[in-house]
């Protein structure tokens, strides 16, 4: 499966990684919904770190849509909330 970290590129991961990623992702989602800064920051770091650790970059000449997309590192809580609440932030 392919995961994109915005601003960094696409990474290829084994499907098995999903279990672990989902767990971290749920923590992130909870922190976003609760609007808690510190848990949000550590959850972002944990999730992005795991993706980088387990993934290998997709070659640039390959054109594939990602199965999952993650916000850019150091995104603010507000930015992530905007990303999730509308598609207004993503230029066509």
């Amino acid at each position: 499966m392919i995961v994109r970290i915005l601003g960094e590129g696409q990474l290829v991961l084994d499907k098995e990684a999903l279990v672990e990623l989902n767990k971290l992702d749920n923590e992130l989602m909870a922190a976003v919904e609760a609007g808690q800064q510190e848990p949000f920051e550590s959850a972002m770091e944990a999730l992005l770190g795991k993706v980088r650790e387990l993934g290998t970059p997709l070659p640039v000449e390959e054109l594939k849509p990602s199965d999952f997309i993650l916000p850019a590192a150091h995104s603010s809580l507000d930015e992530v909330r905007d990303l999730l609440s509308s598609d207004g932030l993503i230029p066509g």
């Binding site: 995961v3 992702d25 054109l63 849509p65 990303l83 999730l84």
Partner: protein
């Protein structure tokens, strides 16, 4: 709404790509139109990266100006102390501390902007490669279009590229927001300078510390000249001077040497 962040975000990106894809009856049209659009976007991205670099350089100049100002205030404080004006020295150092705070603040923002810019350059190069890949792929897909799987290929390639475009577009937006913030900060400093709260580094208008130091120094120069005149007079027309004032100028010698120091300080 059980989906996490990863899934939701990919759905948002996908729905954008699908909307664009749905506009055309023949997907092959989409490929050509999309490639044209990509080239336009690539131009925009390149311009965006260049704009960020320009703004970054402007902020850099602004920071240099502030550094010069800080150095100048330090020199003024030293001069004021030499002149025995601790009050002026304190004032100069207080202003300097203010500027140093601003420099530190701008500096950390500047560094993060630099990081964003490097990332943008890397991303835009990557985007170029992807656009090139899209161009090759679209010709292949068009040649084999009779196959039903072409439809799926088109979808993949198109989603892939539009995702890449969206990503780069967002990165540019973020960098531009950042430069706008820094620019606002820099022009706030400009306004402070214009209002005289900070010195104008062009040297066209003098701040009050400089004015006071100069008047002290020019006061010293006048004393200096007076002393010289007195010395000349004391040689030839000593009597006239003595009868004129009745008081001795002998006690002034110390002040005269002080005045010399003032004058040197003022010229520096």
């Amino acid at each position: 709404m059980a989906d996490g962040v990863m899934k939701r975000m990919s759905l948002i990106f996908k729905s954008k790509a699908n909307k664009a894809l749905d506009k055309y009856e023949d997907p092959r049209e989409t490929l050509d139109y999309s490639y044209q659009k990509q080239m336009e976007l690539l131009q925009k991205v390149r311009r965006g990266v260049a704009d960020v670099a320009t703004s970054r350089k402007r902020v850099e100049l602004q920071m240099k100006k502030l550094q010069q100002e800080s150095d100048k205030l330090e020199g003024q404080a030293r001069k004021a102390l030499e002149l025995g004006r601790e009050d002026l020295a304190r004032e100069a150092l207080t202003r300097r501390a203010n500027i140093v705070t601003q420099i530190t603040d701008l500096n950390s923002q500047y560094e993060s902007l630099q990081g964003q810019e490097e990332n943008l350059v890397r991303q835009s190069k990557q985007l170029e490669s992807k656009v090139e890949a899209f161009r090759t792929q679209k010709e292949t897909i068009k040649a084999t279009y009779t196959a039903a799987q072409a439809q799926a290929q088109i979808g993949e390639a198109f989603s892939g590229i539009s995702e890449e475009m969206g990503d780069v577009g967002m990165a540019i937006q973020r960098a531009q927001d950042k430069t706008a913030q820094l620019q606002a900060r820099a022009s706030a400093v400009d306004e402070l300078m214009a209002s005289g709260a900070l010195d104008d580094p062009t040297g066209l208008s003098k701040d009050d510390i400089t004015r006071q130091l100069e008047s002290l120094s020019s006061g010293g120069a006048v004393d200096d000249q007076l002393a010289q005149m007195k010395q000349e007079l004391s040689g030839g027309e000593k009597k006239a001077l003595e009868s004129g004032s009745g008081t001795s100028y002998a006690g002034k010698t110390d002040e005269i040497s002080d005045a010399d120091v003032l004058k040197d300080g003022g010229a520096a």
